[in-house]
Amino acid sequence: MVTHEDVIAIARLSKLYIPEEELDAMTKAMDDIIKFADTINNASEKGVEFDNINNLSNAFREDEVVPSYDREEILSNANDIDEGHFLVRKRV
C-alpha cells in the first residue's frame, strides 16, 4: 500500500512539488500503477525475462568519430547562456 510519505519522498527525489490537496489522488494513482505492474509477477514464474522481451543483444557502434554539432545549435534550447556554457542556478 502506497502512503502519503512514499509519494512525498519520491516527489522529492524527482524534484517535483505536489500540493497538499493533490496528495490523496496522487497516492491512489500510484497505488493503482504499482498494482497494475504487479500483475506481471503472475507470469514471470514461467521463466520469461521481462526486461528483454525481444531477446535482442549487442547493438554496437564502431569507435569512429563523427563531427559534433555546432555549439550554437547545442545551446539553442538553453534558458540561459554565458561564455559558451549552459548557465544554471547554483545548487549544492
Binding site: 527525489l13 524534484k15 535482442l56 557502434r61 554565458d82 544554471v88
Partner: protein, 470 residues
Amino acid sequence: MKYEMVAGFETHIELATNTKIFCSCTTQFGGDPNTHCCPICIGLPGTLPKLNKQVIKYAIMAGLATNCEIANISKMDRKNYCYPDLPKAYQISQYDKPLCEHGYVQLSSGKKIRLTRIHIEEDAGKLIHKRGDTYVDYNRGGVPLIEIVSEPDIRSVEEAKEYVEKLQQIMRFIGISDCKMQEGSMRCDVNISVRPEGSDKLGTRTEIKNMNSITFIGRAMEYEFQRQVDLIESGGQVEQQTLRYDDATNTTSSMRGKEDANDYRYFRDPDLVTISVTDEEIDELRKQIPELLFQKAERYVQQFGMNEKDAANISKYRRIAEFFEEASEGVKTPKNVSNFIIGQIFRRLETEDDKEKFDISITAQQLRELVKLIDDGKVKNNLAKSTLEKMLDTGKSVTEFITESDMAGMDEGMLAELCKKAVEANPKAVSDYKAGKVKALKSMVGFVMKESRGKADASAAEAKILELIG
C-alpha cells in the same frame, strides 16, 4: 586502544576510445566548452544511445588484467540523480550485472586486494561555479569510464598507494587509458573506517570523493583515520557521510550524508539491449593482453639475470620494455643493453611522462649493433658509451662514428708505444706510484686510453705500464 585502518577504493578510469560511450562525439581532452556535443550526449528527448564496441573490449581487457571473471551476459542501468552535470537526470551505468567481477590486484608483499567488480558507465559534464551561477560544459559528458570497486582489504596508506600505482601501471600497460590523475582520467573515491585492532567487525565508513593525486590520497587517509579515532576515543560516533578533501588545509569536510542505493532508483535502461560476450571472444581478448609488467619483470630476472630493480625499471614502461627486448635479440650480453637504457638513455628522459612516451632518436636495432660490437670485443665499453651519446644526439648508426680501423683494436707494438709515451709524459705519476700512491697508475692508464681514443684494452695497458716502470 590501538586502531586499525580499513579502506576500500572506487576508482574511475576514462577509457582511451576515440568516441564517447553512446555517441560518436570525440573524447578529446579540452576543446572549447560544449563543442564536443550532440543531441545524444546532452540528453535531448527522442535520442537513442548506441554502445561503443571498443568500450566493451577495453573493459573486458581491464577485467582480464586484474584476474576478474567476465560476465557472458551483462546490461546497462539508469542511475537516477538530479544534478546539472547530468543532462538526462540519470547516468547510464551498470547495477546488478556488471561486466567484470571477483578479481584482484596483487601487491608486492604478495597480498591480494580483491576487486568486487568493474563496470562501465558514462562520465558527467564539468561544472564551474562562479559569480553565484553554475557554468555547464558537456564536453566530458558521455566519455566512457570504468569503475573499479575494491573490497575493504586495504589496511594502510602504503597499501593504498601501491594499489593505486599498480592499477595505473596495469591500465597503461594494456593501453586502455593514460590514467593521468592530474587531468582527471583517473580519480579515486576512498571508503575508510577504523576498528580496534584484532576486531573483525567493520566500523561505520566515510567516503572521501574525487581524489586526483596519490600524495593527497595518502594525506587525506591519514587525516581521516586520525579524525575517526579521535571521535571514537572521545566517546563519539562516526557518521556515514561523503567528504571532500581540501589539500590546502589538509582536512576533510562534509559534502552530504550518504545516499542509500535505493535513492538512485536504479532500473534497466530500456534504450540499450543486452550485452552478450562469448567465451571465444573473451579468449581472443585474453591473447591481446600483453604480458603484464610484474610477470615481465620476473622473466627479466630469470631469463637475463637482471637484478630486480633494473628489471622493474625497464618493464614498468611498455615502450621501453619493447625496445629492450628488441635490442636484446641475439645479443650475448643483455645486461649491456639494460645498462645503456638505464644509464645513457634514461638520463635523457627525465619525467615519468618522457619515459612513458619514450621518444628517442635511435632504433632498437641500432642499439643492438653497438652492443654486438662489445660482445665481439671490437669496441671497449668506454668508447661504446661515448658513441651511444653521439648516436642519441644525431640518430645515426654506430658505423657513422666508429670506423673499421677503430674496431681493429691495437696490436702489441702500438700499445707498448703508447704506454712508453704515457710513462715519459707523466714523470710525477711514476714517482707518485713508486712512493706508494696506487692511484697514480690509473692516471697513466687514462692517458693511454685517451691517446688511443678508447681502443686500448685498459687491463693490458696497466700490465704494460707496470712492466715499464716496475
